[in-house]
């Protein structure tokens, strides 16, 4: 009987892992949001993405076709963006719980920029499950901004490339491919 429960637990865990992993944003961010000048909060699950895709189809232009293709691969989009008037509104304690969730073996840094002079830190994390892409997280800390973007699903860096030139994505951006054997991609650090 115990064996059956164990097998069921393994199957359930594997199913949940395959479905995606939503990163929990600490509750301290809600307090920060009250102090922020600008707050963007996006929570779109699979059904809402389907609805958005349906209405994008009506636009019928090239961008919408590409976004629709991207949305079809995603299980969810989760964004928290806070913009403050003055620097120093958030502390390491506010960001560490997020970083901690992105430390598992499934996650690798594909881009890691840490400029200590301008106090800007941008890390792009890629999730790989069984050799396949399982999502992307962009986590940016700037003196007056805190941004978390999670694109959950089997998204490829090429999908982002396809959108380059739109939505502020540079025309010639080429996000490095996630390599499960070599966890960290482009890393740039300036003291």
């Amino acid at each position: 009987m115990k064996r059956i429960y164990a097998v069921a637990l393994v199957v359930l865990t594997a199913t949940l892992a395959a479905q995606g992993q939503k990163i929990e944003i600490p509750s301290s961010w809600d307090k920060l949001a009250a102090k922020a000048d600008e707050v963007d909060n996006v929570t779109l699950d699979k059904s809402m993405l389907g609805l958005a895709a349906k209405f994008m189809k009506d636009d019928n232009d090239q961008d919408s076709v590409q976004i629709n293709r991207l949305l079809g691969k995603l299980n969810g989009i989760y964004v928290r963006h806070l913009e403050f008037k003055n620097p120093g509104e958030f502390t390491e304690a506010d960001v560490e719980p997020v970083r901690a969730q992105l430390q598992g073996p499934e996650w690798s840094h594909v881009v890691d920029v840490n400029n200590k002079n301008s106090k800007e830190k941008v890390v792009i994390y890629m999730r790989t499950v069984n050799g396949k892409s399982g999502g992307l997280v962009i986590f940016a800390e700037e003196p007056t901004e805190l941004t978390f973007v999670q694109l959950d699903g089997s998204i490829d860096p090429q999908d982002i490339d396809a959108l380059s030139g739109n939505f502020g994505i540079p025309k010639d951006v080429h996000t490095p491919k996630a390599n499960p054997e070599k966890p960290n991609g482009a890393t740039a650090e300036k003291p």
Partner: protein
């Protein structure tokens, strides 16, 4: 007074109605009115059906229209949220790329 006048006087003599006369008249009027009303509806069964169907179609169309409007509003909001997410993702990727380029130069 001749016999004719006597007859006429008897015929035109005020006579009190029997007890409950007014009540009986009113009851008969009510029954008559009900019958008339029922007859006017039952005489037009097709109109009744048509009105019923029209009402049902109206209700279904109204509910469907409202549902469409709510769905459209939710879809448009979701679409705008997708744009916000992509704009932010793009901006941060651009920032990362600029920093990488700046450092490599």
């Amino acid at each position: 007074m001749d016999p004719f006048e006597e007859h006429l006087k008897n015929a035109l003599r005020r006579e009190e109605p029997r007890a409950g006369f007014a009540g009986r008249v009113r009851a008969r009027i009510t029954v008559q009115e009900k019958r008339t009303r029922r007859a006017s509806w039952s005489s037009l069964p097709r109109l009744r059906w048509a009105l019923g169907i029209l009402l049902c179609v109206g209700i279904v169309a109204g509910v469907s229209y409202r549902h469409d409007q709510v769905e459209r509003a939710r879809g448009e909001a979701a679409k705008q949220q997708v744009y916000v997410a992509l704009r932010l993702a793009g901006a941060k990727m651009q920032l990362a790329e600029l920093k990488v380029r700046h450092l490599s130069e």
